[in-house]
């Protein structure tokens, strides 16, 4: 049984349909990338899985149970956590308070404040600062740490590399390996195709709200991906 499966997942923003019948599966412990051009529906798909969009119960199945109708805070409770695009830290809260807020649901598991600080030591040094005082990369680490604090089985990462310097992106993806080594399942949304493919074992390429291509990452012909990406 897959950890996550979507069945003909459709999603709308008002009258605008952003997803047209997405069927994807994610097995426990694997890292899956969702790639695609701007407006392909990648973020929409993650937001739907996180409960932020209205969907039918059966459209999203987690650990064999239909959860498409649940609210975002319920999704955190069952074990789905999100690192939102643009990080979305709480500016009035300190770094440590942002992390502790991630643990609000009280889900038990291996991740504690100490372990997050172990993963991102720089956050421990800056724990008393307000979140906006951090650099972009540090903020992204804080956002990842905040999501981990809810001890998710499935971690949804939206554009981890957005607006960050390549050397910082490298650091964050190195840490992501440490997270997946813990057995956490990860779904990555990225515009940076190479980064996404390097970090994942399987990928889905979205195009205009549909899956254009899916395959294991290893040794896959990148020209074919480019073709699917641009709809050539």
């Amino acid at each position: 049984m897959s950890l996550l499966a979507t069945h003909q997942l459709s999603a709308f923003y008002g009258d605008f349909q952003a997803l047209f019948g997405i069927d994807l599966t994610v097995e426990e412990g694997e890292t899956v990338a969702i790639i695609g051009a701007n407006g392909a529906g990648k973020t929409t798909c993650l937001r739907a899985v996180a409960g932020a969009l209205t969907t039918e119960p059966n459209m999203i199945e987690f650990d064999g149970k239909p959860i498409g109708h649940r609210t975002p805070h319920d999704m955190v409770r069952v074990g789905i956590a999100m690192v939102p695009e643009g990080r979305r830290l709480f500016p009035s809260l300190t770094v440590e308070e942002n992390l502790l807020l991630g643990a609000h649901s009280g889900r038990p598991g291996p991740w504690t404040l100490e372990r997050v600080y172990g993963l991102f030591p720089v956050l421990k040094d800056l724990h008393h600062l307000p979140a906006p005082a951090l650099s972009g990369g540090q903020q992204q680490m804080c956002a990842v740490g905040r999501a981990l604090m809810s001890n998710p089985r499935l971690l949804l990462c939206d554009e981890l590399s957005l607006g960050l310097a390549p050397v910082i992106i490298q650091d964050i993806y190195t840490c992501l390996e440490a997270i997946t080594d813990e057995g956490t399942t990860v779904v990555l949304v990225e515009q940076d195709i190479n980064r996404a493919l390097d970090a994942s074992s399987r990928f889905y390429c979205f195009q205009e709200g549909r899956i254009a291509l899916t395959a294991p990452t290893d040794g896959f012909d990148r020209d074919k991906i480019t073709a699917a990406y641009f709809g050539l």
Partner: protein
Amino acid sequence: MEWLNVLIQGSLLGGLYALFAIGLSLSFGIMRLVNIAHGDLIVLCAYVALIVVQGTGLDPVSSLIIVLPVMFVAGYLLQRGLLNFTLEGGLLPPLLVTFGISVIIQNALLLGFGAYTHRLQQGAIETQSLVLPGDIAIGVYPVIIFAVAVLSIAGLQLLFFKTKIGRAFRAASDDADTAELMGINKRHLFALAMAIAMIFTALAAVLFAIRTNFDPASGPTRLILAFEAVIIGGLGSMWGTLIGGMILGIAQAVGAALSPTWQILAGHLAFLVILIILPSGLFPRTRD
């Protein structure tokens, strides 16, 4: 010395205005809900206290043992059952709905209690006074109200900055949708915020009703005073709200010292002047 007296009396009066403002400040700060019915909720709480006092024979302050929990639950249900549904479509729906609630409360109170003025009697403490050096006499009761305002705000600060639920309130104030994504039940949290706001509203109501007459139409005036205290102090700053209330109280006391007819007008004028000079108030904290 006369002006020092005016300053002290005005500051103490500001404590009551700050208490009026706490509930309004909480609902705006956490939920971006502009509660037009706030003044009428204060008056409603006063009538609830009146019923309890008449029904049980308790004195008004002791009646809080019953009034506070009742209004806590009422606030929770009001937010969860009605106001939460107005928050998705911008600023206008909550304005219209709370305006409607305001009209309903005023007319329901008129229907139930008539247009008579009422007052709660606490006894001797209402008229006791302390004499300070320089022959300045200050009422014990206004001092108590001021102390309650200070303790209330200090308590709320502790709640906001030292507790898990307070952290969640601050996060929801920043970005409620992201807070929901992090596992916070926004609807429950907002309902709790309104419940806590109603605790302070009820507290303000009983202290106010011991001090002054009230009738079903007293609400809008309390609302304006609360609004002015919040805006002078700066949105989102609780201590700012206390300072705002004190400025309002001092302006009224100065106006009254010049001529009794100027009392109310002087408060509003002070508010307008500050609004022109500092449009976002003295200590703005809330982020949008």
